[in-house]
Amino acid sequence: MLSKYLFSIIFIISLSSQIYAHPHTWINLQSTFGLNENAELIEIKQKWQFDEFYSAMFIADMLNEFGPDRDLAFTLAGENMVSSLSDYQYFSNLTVDQVGMSIGQPSEYLLTSEIVDGAEMLTMFMTFTLASTPNIKDTQIEWSVFDPTYYVAMIHTDIENLAIENGQNSGCMVNMDIPEPSQETIAYASSLDKEQTETQGLGILFAEKIRFGCL
């Protein structure tokens, strides 16, 4: 009798356990890692290209608010975007030997648009100059860019969107791990959330992990 109740209850629970937030906006990312002659990471350049829906909405609002001078509107909207992203560390996570390292504020940025297949895509360029410069051969560096809430899916998609600058002599390559969230990691991340409210959401499970492999 008891087992029957238990079975039914487990049945209902297993049906209802599939809850995730899901993305409504996509950002295509490009990351370029700038090295110096000692194979130290000195800067990270990022390119964020928003999807067509978000771009259309953002640009229409922007022209409405700051227009009609497009260049001025992009400049003002870019300032707003960078300052609001600043509280979220630009959704960027850099770890050196598994210790988080701040990338600070972008030393340069530009909000603009690019035409892709006839559509105007909102595009943000940001350059982060690092305060301390870890050696990519001696340390284990990991880079990931994600929205914790997973409202926005941020993806490099392909290794082609990753590059090392001045890395010819370092013998290093950049690799990307595409996440494969399992039930266990999802459960783990959910339990993490209760203590660490800032990482609430499951975006971390779908975050790409970028590392360097050196000869």
Binding site: I9, I12, L15, P23, D51, E52, A153, E180
Partner: protein, 319 residues
Amino acid sequence: MIKPLLNSVAARPISLGLGLVSIVFGFILLKQLMAYWPDILRSIIDTQRYFHQLLSTHIKDVANHADTYGWSLLGVSFAYGVFHAAGPGHGKAIIVTYLASQKESLKQGVVISFIASLFQSLIAIGLITFLVLILNLKFREVTQTGQQVEQIGYILVMLLGSYLVIKAFISFVRSRQTSIQSQHDHSHEHGEACNHSYVPDKKLNRAKTLGVALSMGMRPCSGAILVLIYAQVINVFWYGVLATLAIGVGTGLTLAILAAASVYARDWTQTLFQSDSESVSHATRMADIMGFTGGLLLIFLGWSLYQIAIQVSQNHPLL
């Protein structure tokens, strides 16, 4: 009263054996599915993204050549709806939990699925019409309002859960008080065709079904809002409205399939464990416990989804 064959004494060991074999097979199947789950999840998300892009291209094409692309826009929107609902999230857990734990029929499940989905589309259309076309708000403010309405929707889900919990509790107390009486009544209604352990409930009236559907659909789909905004930006608002309705139908189809599956699965687990010796009062108690658990889960689901929605709407630099 004629007994179904499976419930006769001779057939009991066979029935038990079949039940056990089904459980083992079910378990193996589940294990296999779990192994492929990450791949499945990823391909669903990729497909969603593909349709998302396809949709924006089609709306753009409609703006230029309405006659040529009108129909294909509807097709793409419908497909987007189907995959969007199949993907992670989308609160489909709410409807599945509700149907798996309550006594709704297959037909009611399908009706609830479609009404809830279409209502989601209508709310999105209403929001854009009112806020953008009449109040002239910024698009960004519309998506933010959409998020707030979504939160109200999750509160409604929690209320629905509370209602079900209270209802099951009251029924449980009553059935204990009048267990002999109810057993007697039941033997008259229970024909041979009815092999469900759920006692036939008083049919939910239409208003109540509608209420359940609306409380589940009282959330504008964020995807639909984006489509409408996009359509408005490129001056094809009415195609956006049509696309949104087609998304609603597509979402409804996926939900209806899930609803049917959960109604069947519910009845199947019930028959699996049903035995001849079982009295009707046990079945009633069983139904109450299922109803109670389902209600609790809906409260929990509503709360979790509410938390996620709050997180997005309060703390999102890009929203």
